[in-house]
Amino acid sequence: MSTDYQALAKQMVARAKKKGAKQAEAYIEVGRESSVRVRDGQIEDLTQATSKGAGIRVFVKDRLGFAWTSDFTTEAINSSVDRAVQLAEAAAPNKLNGLPTKKQLGAPSDVGPLFDEAVANLDPEWKIKSALEMEKAGKAYDPRVKTFDSVGAGDHVNEVYLASSEGASNGYQGTYVYLYAMPVAADGPQLQTSYWVDYKRFLDELDAPEKIGVEAARRAVRMLGASKVKSQKVPVIFDPMMAAAFVSGIAAAANGDAVFKQSSFLASKLGQSIAPKNVTLVDDGLMKRGLGTSPFDGEGVATRRTAIVEQGVLRSFLYDTFTARKAKAESTGNASRGYRSLPAIGTNNLYLEPGTTSPEELIKGVKNGFYVTAMLGHGANVVTGEFSRGANGLWITDGALGKPVQEVTVAGNLLDMLMAIDGIGSDLTFRGSTGAPTIRFAELTVSGE
């Protein structure tokens, strides 16, 4: 049974118009997923499923209504469209409301292939075998790797269809495949865990299972014996994973909506130098084969490349159509959504451009400091820029990684932290749609004993 989802999206828009909507947009997602976890050389669980959903966004007399459904019977689809139109009555009129115009939509961007037949037709046996290899490699790495919290593999295939009364009518499909391992290492009473993952659109780009298993094990084992350190201000290095979390915080503050509401510490900084010259932070919706790449965003606007920070200067905020209209700016193609939610500003592929220094060199340059490899907590307050998170990692003594450290926090203010960046590694790493190289801060506060 095959359904023409593009036609269904158009039908939903037509019905909404008929029911009194001035503008309407339907967003449909269809997907299938398959995943496996293993334990002690055996399958632990296997999941397989298909799912779908449709969201309908309408404007009735400048009022916004939204409804979604996972039930695709004609009756449920029609009733969700009708409900969206009715719900608009409860919202306030806003002249700035509205869908992107034909001109604002632009032609969908040419982003190259997003779909890999090899992933779409991936043999379940491959996933089982890969997960078992990760587990085996992790245990073989060190006898102190006793077990895994979780070790598994999976893939999913997603299709997106969008149609609007303003002329949007398009779709795309993409594939994703991933491997992950969370080993637990034990030595005496102390247990330590870690995490390593690879996540790609194309099978041939995925790291070998053995590599994932070993890297996860290495990261867990080296934490054994971790303890607190004294509170002090020292140079701090974030490994690429933690640097990616840091740049996500900066991008969250560049959210055009937060900026417009004066609820971002970056609100008054446009055009100003906020970081050293070697800092360039980019959101790139066009990145070839990128996990966050798509031809158009969650409201059909063509994706693009936006430099948020360029050579240290804050160049642009990120916008969807509504916020851009409020701020008298242009959408940057950053409307992010699933069928169950209204578009909201998010990143596509976000990354900090790499430098030329190797991560080893960055570490070598620190006499007494902290190399952070894991963090706990939700991180930065975008309004105030305050940053304070629990941190794990390795202490750096005389330019070398040394004893493991846990139960401390690192804290600073994001603006000060940006200015304090005094080294950027050459090792740009993506383990998802956000990437970063190793970064070094001249000084942050580490709180411990």
Partner: protein, 485 residues
């Protein structure tokens, strides 16, 4: 500890079943066709409504419908899971047969019958939240916005959200069990930004957040009014204008009652979930009967609290929720089990099997987790601290259950100097190792401890509503994150 007793058992008014019982039974048979040990069918239909206000206008009103079926088949320690949001017979049978493939056996055509047992009613909502007019829901956020701005003219931004869901579930399994429940849930929340002038004349911004709800009828907001919620959010933001940096390092902390219970949720709760225990990945594994906390500490997980956000009439595997003592006077007494882990560990389910939706396998999860009140008054706890930090309102927390490290984010905090509250502090993060922090509990308040109904817990990508609670608590030697050494 006064336990809120359950109302008497009742089988409520029954709308037509989500799936007819004979169809459920056919799906169970299909799940067992390769000779597995156990099969379960979970059917869900959830209707949601949300209204959001920002920039003084109702931005949107929205509603959603999610329905589907998840089939789980267990063969030894292996689990097969498949789900479908297509409810036609063919699609469901396909899902059941997919899950069945986890078992390697040959054909079995056994049939299964299920029968419904009466359930307790820990929450009874006379009129389902989905049937309340959206205009009344919109009115709550309009009133909250108005009240927040009237509270203080320095309140510059208000985002108010009302969200509810009415979830109907059916769980049937090859042990003959069938359970049906309707789970209403709602929450009103208010975020504000206050703007003042710092000492340097530059604008200073602070945030406040409050909200609440639960498995309550809509009339809950007649007494838990939007004005109360807005005032509390605004009060927090105004109170911390002019806040100074916290001193980093180990200090005595006093936690205000209620929502601070997330510290307990993170510090010990997750580590007592049976999946982590079975896999040996929790630092509480193998410690039953041992002293893991100060003898002032008694920790309870109670899925039977009336109308609480984490309460259940039946868990997502069809088992009854329980009142469970996890830690009694510092001694570890028990873990939280779902049915699968209970079976693999030779125990029994504590009614802790929960899942976000039909798209997920159940896992052992907390319901309402709290620390039983002690005998100190909040006043004497504060008075006894020479130098420390008073933590008045909290953001969120996170734990690494393996090494026990947890963080706990404090949005509103004050210095304590010689038993008195001093200057407000900029947002601080507390960090500790679960059992050590609980061993350092030196005073437990006698004040009421439930939270207002705010919490959502995430684990392995699945979110479920939870309740937390803590009376006023003194913990010595907590590590306080800050920027000032």
């Amino acid at each position: 500890m006064a336990r809120v007793a359950a109302k008497k058992s009742a089988v409520g008014l029954t709308p037509p079943p989500l799936l007819p019982v004979p169809q459920l039974e056919r799906l169970l048979s299909a799940g067992m066709e390769r000779g597995a040990d156990f099969a379960e069918v979970y059917v869900e239909r959830t209707v949601t409504t949300a209204v959001t206000l920002e920039e003084n206008k109702i931005k949107s009103a929205q509603s959603g419908l999610q329905q589907g079926v998840g089939v789980r088949v267990v063969s030894g320690a292996k689990v097969g899971y498949a789900y479908s949001d297509d409810l036609d017979d063919e699609a469901l049978l396909r899902a059941a047969r997919t899950a069945a493939m986890i078992a390697q056996g040959t054909g079995s055509e056994k049939s299964f019958n299920v029968a419904r047992a009466p359930l307790p009613m820990f929450y009874r909502v006379q009129q389902s939240l989905k049937d309340i007019e959206v205009a009344r829901k919109a009115d709550l956020v309009v009133r909250a916005n108005k009240a927040a701005h009237l509270y203080d003219k320095r309140i510059k931004q208000v985002v108010a959200t009302y969200a509810d869901s009415t979830k109907r579930v059916m769980v049937a399994n090859t042990e003959g069990h069938l359970a049906v429940d309707t789970q209403d849930l709602c929450r009103l929340s208010v975020h504000v930004v206050a703007e003042g002038r710092g000492k340097d004349g530059k604008p200073e911004r602070r945030t406040g957040f409050y909200g609440g709800g639960g498995r309550v009828p809509f009339s809950h907001f007649d007494t838990f009014t939007p004005e109360m919620v807005a005032h509390e959010a605004a009060r927090q933001a105004i109170a911390v204008l002019g806040a100074v940096d916290a001193r980093a390092g180990q200090q005595t902390v006093v936690l205000a009652p209620g929502w601070s219970g997330i510290l307990l949720h993170e510090a010990v709760g997750h580590g007592l979930e049976a999946d982590f225990i079975r896999k040996g990945t929790s630092l509480f594994a193998g410690k039953l009967g041992q002293q893991v906390a100060s003898n002032l500490v008694t920790v309870i997980d109670d899925g039977t609290m009336a109308n609480s956000r984490g309460s259940l009439n039946v868990d997502d595997e069809g088992n009854a929720p329980e009142f469970k003592v996890l830690i009694e006077r510092g001694v570890l007494k028990g873990y939280m089990y779902d049915a699968l882990n209970a079976k693999l560990m030779g125990g029994r389910s504590t009614g802790s099997g929960r899942r976000e939706s039909f798209k997920h396998m159940p896992m052992p999860r907390m319901t309402n987790t709290y620390l039983a009140p002690g005998d100190s008054t909040p006043e004497e706890i504060l008075k006894g601290v020479d130098k420390g930090i008073y933590c008045a309102h909290f953001g969120g927390g996170q734990v690494d259950i393996t090494n026990g490290n947890f963080v706990f984010e404090v949005n509103e905090a004050y210095e304590i100097e010689k038993g008195k509250m001093g200057r407000p502090l900029k947002g601080v993060t507390l960090i500790g190792v679960g059992p050590e922090a609980l061993k350092n509990v030196s005073q437990v308040g006698n004040d009421p401890m439930p939270d207002p109904g705010l919490g959502t817990c995430g684990k392995d990508g699945q979110s479920v509503p939870v309740g937390v609670g803590l009376p006023t608590l003194r913990i010595d030697n907590m590590t306080v994150g800050g920027t000032k050494v």
